[in-house]
Amino acid sequence: MIQHEAEQPKSRNIDQEVLEHLDALYGYAMSLVRNPTEAEDLVQEACLRALKSARRYPPTGDLKAWLFTILRNLWINHQKRRHRGPEFISLSAQSDEQDPLLDGMTDHRLRPDRLLDRSVLQANIRAAIESLPAIFREIILLRYVEGFSYNQIAGILGCPAGTVMSRLNRARAALRQRLLVIDRGP
């Protein structure tokens, strides 16, 4: 009779994983606060809270998304303590049902082929992203830089996946508008 050794679950090296995600965490913090000192504080505090929490209740899921969630909650708390809320954008002009992608297509000047002409420098795109409200900057970073899925982003932001999709659409539409402004020049 062949005896199978029970497969032992690999112990998770949380510390190592935290270090592996440090650059990503810092990038996320920068996208939220745009201030290196504040971003450093946010990252350090997020790591500290994560470690303390992990020792009591070791996380079992996606550690990176979990770290991002902790960092975002800290940021929101900091914003509240500053007596001003996170940066919000007006949704009155368009509901989640409207697709700003389609709206943009009706204006030929906003067509991506114009905006993405080879002459558009990457620096312009970076500048356009930087000029977006935090709520758009962060979702662009979460999706296109960090590669989180809609469900993961929904978990980090604490909202339904449908909201992620509509917010991402609005973020791209806003980005196009900013690119158009840059494209037109001063």
Binding site: K52, P112, S149, N169
Partner: protein, 277 residues
């Protein structure tokens, strides 16, 4: 599949959020619809441009080193310590610091490097004075701040309330507080103001940080470590299981100023002792 329906799905397709059947239907449509194909390519280009442009940040090396150090210190201090009235007057200690600066300069000593805790205290003070460090609680009430700290620290912190004489206002006031990450735990940060000048107090467990470096001065059974860092004066000491760091930009002052904050008869021997130094 109608063309507008396909446009709705472009984002989902590029973000790999379509179910297998939806994906197949989408691909079948765009392969026979030049308009949708063109829009898909345009959108793909935009996404690629965003990805290429949004180069990821790199955490500064010193931040990484700080986090690594925090991770190495895995043992947490779980003991709960009761703080006695450790701060019967922050302002008076600041005065003491001023005297120590004078002593250090006069004696021509070359103090040892300041401790990491002293450097953190100065760094925290600098950020606070620049408006880069928001307080988590803003209050002039030491009791309220003490309640806010309850349960957040591995030790109990009870801020003393300076006894006001009738008709006399406080020479200093507490402004607010917050938590500061240090090693693998939190330190308590308390912001004070003495005649509109900021004073920062940082408190942690003695097992996490011990005062070292700087000019060491024994006084009333305690050993104070004085440092001048980037123009700021910082005094660190341990007492009753906790380590303190007090930061200010106070200049040298006379004894009379100390008496303003130490009006009680019990403080006079201490002030006289300081004067003899």
């Amino acid at each position: 599949m109608a063309s507008d329906h396909v446009i709705d799905h472009i984002t989902l397709y590029l973000d790999d959020e379509l179910q297998e059947e939806e994906r197949a239907a989408f691909e079948a449509h765009v392969h026979q619809c030049p308009e949708c194909w063109a829009r898909l390519e345009e959108e793909r280009e935009l996404v690629m441009a965003i990805r290429q442009a949004a180069s990821p940040h790199r955490a500064p090396q010193y931040l990484r080193a700080r986090i690594e150090a925090m991770l190495r210190r895995s043992s947490l201090t779980d003991g709960v310590r009761r703080v006695r009235l450790w701060m019967p007057l922050a302002a008076a200690v600041v005065m003491l610091m001023s005297a120590m600066v004078w002593l250090a300069v006069r004696s021509g000593l070359h103090p040892a490097q300041p401790s990491a805790f002293a450097r953190l205290a100065v760094n925290t003070h600098q950020r606070y004075t620049r408006g880069q460090l928001p307080l988590e609680i803003t209050s002039h009430s030491p009791q309220e701040i003490s309640r806010w700290f309850a349960g957040k620290l591995p030790f109990n912190l009870k801020l003393p309330d300076y006894p006001e004489s009738p008709g006399q206002s406080k020479p200093y006031e507490v402004v607010g507080a917050r938590l500061i990450g240090f090693q693998q735990d939190y330190a308590a940060y308390v912001a004070y103001r003495l005649r509109q000048r900021p004073i920062s107090l940082l408190v942690t467990s003695e097992t996490v940080a011990r005062p070292t470096g700087g000019e060491e001065i024994a006084w009333r059974g305690l050993r104070f470590h004085f440092d001048a860092i980037d123009g700021w004066k910082v005094l660190t000491w341990s007492d009753n299981g906790l380590t303190y760091a007090l930061v200010s930009d106070f200049e040298e002052r006379g004894q009379a100023s100390c008496i303003v904050c130490h009006p009680g008869a019990e403080d006079r021997p201490m002030l006289e002792g300081l004067n003899r130094r």
